[in-house]
Every structure is written in structure tokens, then in C-alpha cells.
Symmetry: C2
DNA sequence: TCCTACGATAGACTTTGTCTAAGTCAAGTA
DNA sequence: TACTTGACTTAGACAAAGTCTATCGTAGGA
């Protein structure tokens, strides 16, 4: 679906073949791709697209709030197109599988004022780690 | 204090000048240093120490459970000597300042079974992000 | 159609971290 | 104390992820 493309165009985003391809790769996928994976998929649709453009475009999509950057893993950032529903992540410590999860309550409320040290807190990231069913079966 | 050194020696850790220096750098600091920062401080005490040794030693301290790896920032891992008291982190989105914080309750209990997808969860990391008093004053 | 500013490109560069081969040394043994 | 040995350290090459820069190309308005 081109909801994403429509929204971007509506915001005055200059549309180019490269940007369209990157947006399409993310839009169709309910997964968490690295920049390199996005590039690999984009290349199949538009062989000349460069790594720098993929990085630039991902960065813009993040700035626009259409895509979230996820750092469940120290190696590479991942890009999560599910930016419109707040959620956290559950990560398999062995195979790296990632699931979106929706904890109950607001994680911010667990942090009393006395533990905020005068900070203005705007965001909380929660990462649950463990073994997925597959990996715990073969452990 | 050399609590840390004593514990390490007690575990049969072979003591070398390099390891002592790395342990001392961490032991004295209630902060969150990157590997490079640890190396920089170690070099002032032992100029010949190499980067590889610092990485090796930090890795061993993590394996031994004496130091925690913290990834509040995508650029570099940070090493937290406060491994013996469970805590989470509060990070300034602008200047990168990090504070240890102690939320109430167990963050795991916020994740219902239906949201665990069969995973065996062993750990939860929570990172609160916002602006520290300094940065929100000058924003 | 033509212009022009914005976007795309290749590739060098940077940062963070890992690996390897060769040299060094802590600590056990006699 | 001197010897021995395997664990530790080193320099530097390598790798992965990402950023920067100079140049070229093109989307979209006039």
C-alpha cells in the first residue's frame, strides 16, 4: 500500500525513484531491517541506488517520524516501520529474532520523581531479552 | 579500593600490570566509560598498554560479572562497574550524560504472557531518555 | 522547454571493535 | 633462585557500520 508514499508526498517530500523504492521496501515489511538489508532489497528494484542514499533516506524517514530507529543489537541500527503504535521489543539473545510487544501500563510511571534528577524525560525504551521458542528448544 | 582486585585474584585471575590498571580505572569510577576512555585513562598509568588488551580485559570482566556492558548510545559500548545492584539508565539526549536509576517494581511484570510469544525472558533493559537539567535550561 | 536547487552517486574516511602472529611474563616447580 | 610453560600482551591488519565530500543528475516550477 502506498499510504506512506501519499503521506510523504503530502508533506512536500520531493519524490524520486530512490526514495520511492526505500519507502516501498519498508512499507511492505512488518519486520526490522538493518540499513544494509534495506539497501539489498532496494537494489533488486533499482540497481543503481547507493548506500549513502539509503542512509540519507532512512535518516529522513526517522526525522519525519515515519520510521523508528531500533538498537536492540549493537552491530547495526534497525528500522521499524511500525512508528504509529507505541511498542517495545523482545529480542532473542541467541538468534537475534525481534518481536514487537505491548507491555501494560506506562513504563515511565515506574520512575519516581526522586529518581529523575531534574531530567525532562520524553521517552522510554524497553528491551526484553531471552530465548525464543526455537532457540530454547535447541539449547 | 581493591575489592575488585581481591575478588579477581580470588577467582584465579592471573594478575598482570595491564589487568590491574584496567580494573583500577573502573573500580575508582562511578561513571560509564567507553572502551576508548578506559584505554585513555589506563595509558596515563601504563603507557604501553594496547587497545586490544583493554578490550580483552573488559570482555573478561563482563564475563565474570564484575562489570556491565551498557548500550545507551549506538556509537560505543560503555562499561558500568556498578554490576552488583540492579539498575536502569537515564540518558540525556543532547549531551549524553548517563545516570543510574532505580525504578520501582519489576519491569518484567508489565509484559503479560500473551505478549511473550513463548520466549524465555531473562533480562529487561530500560533506558529513559530526555534532557538533563543543564541541557533543558539551555534549550 | 529550460533552470536551478535539491537529491544521488562513488568512494574515501572515521569509529568501534576483532583477529593474528609473534613476543613476553606470572606463577608453579624443583 | 632459575626454569618452564601456557596464558597474556602487543602492533598492526582487518572488518563492519556509518558519515562526509565533491561532483553529477534530475524533479518540478517558471
Amino acid at each position: 500500500m502506498s499510504d506512506l508514499l501519499e503521506r510523504l508526498r503530502g508533506r512536500g517530500w520531493r519524490m524520486t525513484a530512490q526514495r520511492r523504492v526505500v519507502a516501498e521496501v519498508l512499507d511492505g515489511e512488518h519486520v526490522h531491517l538493518t540499513a544494509d538489508e534495506v539497501h539489498a532489497r532496494a537494489v533488486t528494484k533499482l540497481p543503481e541506488i547507493s548506500r549513502a542514499t539509503v542512509y540519507n533516506t532512512l535518516g529522513e524517514l526517522v526525522t519525519l517520524g515515519e520510521v523508528l530507529e531500533v538498537s536492540t543489537d549493537r552491530r547495526a541500527k534497525r528500522y521499524d516501520p511500525n512508528a504509529h503504535r507505541p511498542h517495545q521489543h523482545l529480542v532473542c539473545a541467541r538468534c537475534g529474532a525481534i518481536r514487537d510487544v505491548h507491555p501494560t501500563g506506562n513504563p515511565l510511571s515506574a520512575l519516581p520523581d526522586s529518581e529523575r534528577f531534574g531530567f525532562t524525560i520524553s521517552d522510554v525504551e524497553v528491551t526484553y531479552r531471552g530465548l525464543c521458542p526455537n532457540c530454547s528448544a535447541s539449547a
